[in-house]
Symmetry: C2
């Protein structure tokens, strides 16, 4: 738990746990919408521009690790949702709360491994294969369109609920 609390004055040569500190810094940059660069991540972690390369093969590797964390969080939240409609709400809310992270997660071929667990959770709630794909595509489409500002709407949560009800409920009987 307790982070490595080193006084900034005499910072030691060795950063306590740079690996996770880099992840945290990268996440912050993403959330703040700042232009993302490995150097910026290193800067924020208070470390030289090349230090990250001791822990991650390259920029892609850092990003992929970050995407993995994202899927873990999303999976946790989805698992806690009581029913399909709630899951839809959780999914879209996650996307809107963490736009950068969400985009990263889905724009990365490498993230497919981390993604598997999330997909499993999603699949477990709908038995019919066609409906499973449909429900997921519907919710993912809503999330992406909202993120990209193609679906202007004051209350996204309500939009998701009514859309899911209107489209999915009839299909599932």
């Amino acid at each position: 738990m307790c982070a490595v609390s080193t006084s900034s004055a005499g910072r030691p040569y060795h950063h306590g746990d740079l690996r996770v500190a880099l992840l945290a810094a990268a996440l912050e940059l993403l959330e703040e919408g700042e232009t993302f660069s490995l150097r910026a991540v290193a800067r924020r972690a208070g470390v030289s521009p090349n230090a990250p390369y001791r822990h991650y093969e390259d920029k892609e590797a850092l990003l992929s690790a970050l995407a993995g964390c994202g899927f873990d969080r999303l999976a946790d939240r989805l698992e806690a949702a009581p029913d399909l409609t709630a899951m839809a709400g959780v999914y879209v809310a996650f996307a809107l709360e963490h736009p950068g992270l969400f985009r990263l997660m889905y724009g990365r071929p490498t993230a497919n491994a981390a993604w598997a667990h999330t997909a499993e959770i999603l699949a477990s709630r709908v038995s019919d294969p066609a409906l499973r794909v449909g429900a997921w595509a519907l919710v993912h489409g809503l999330a992406v369109l909202l993120l990209d500002g193609k679906l202007k709407c004051a209350d996204p949560d309500a939009l998701v609920r009514t859309t899911v009800v209107a489209v999915l409920t009839p299909a599932m009987g």
Copy 2:
């Protein structure tokens, strides 16, 4: 008029229509999946790295213009589709045929103007507002998930058809 053989291979100083040549070059790069850079576009158009700035404010402007062209093409194809199911097929097919362009179109806030026309066509086929949003989100979600490789599938067109039928048909009665 005398053939002032300029440094670069006898081409005249003034490129005929650089504005559209740049768009074409940029499109090629996107389609080929090459790493996209303004300099690469200029190189492919056979022109100096800074020439594009005479025609486009900055890289964003070129990309936005490109996205606009993309929406025009998509709108044309959608307009020619006879019914909703066909439109869905066209939409996803376009995304899969032009992955780079499609991603560009939707990842760009500036492209909202060009996108308006496309949205209008999409909206004109479904009267109920909730279903309209739902249908569009469903199809867009399918396109994006297929593009990102989250939906492995040998025959995307069939997948789209069965999904649309399974989900949308019951909802529309």
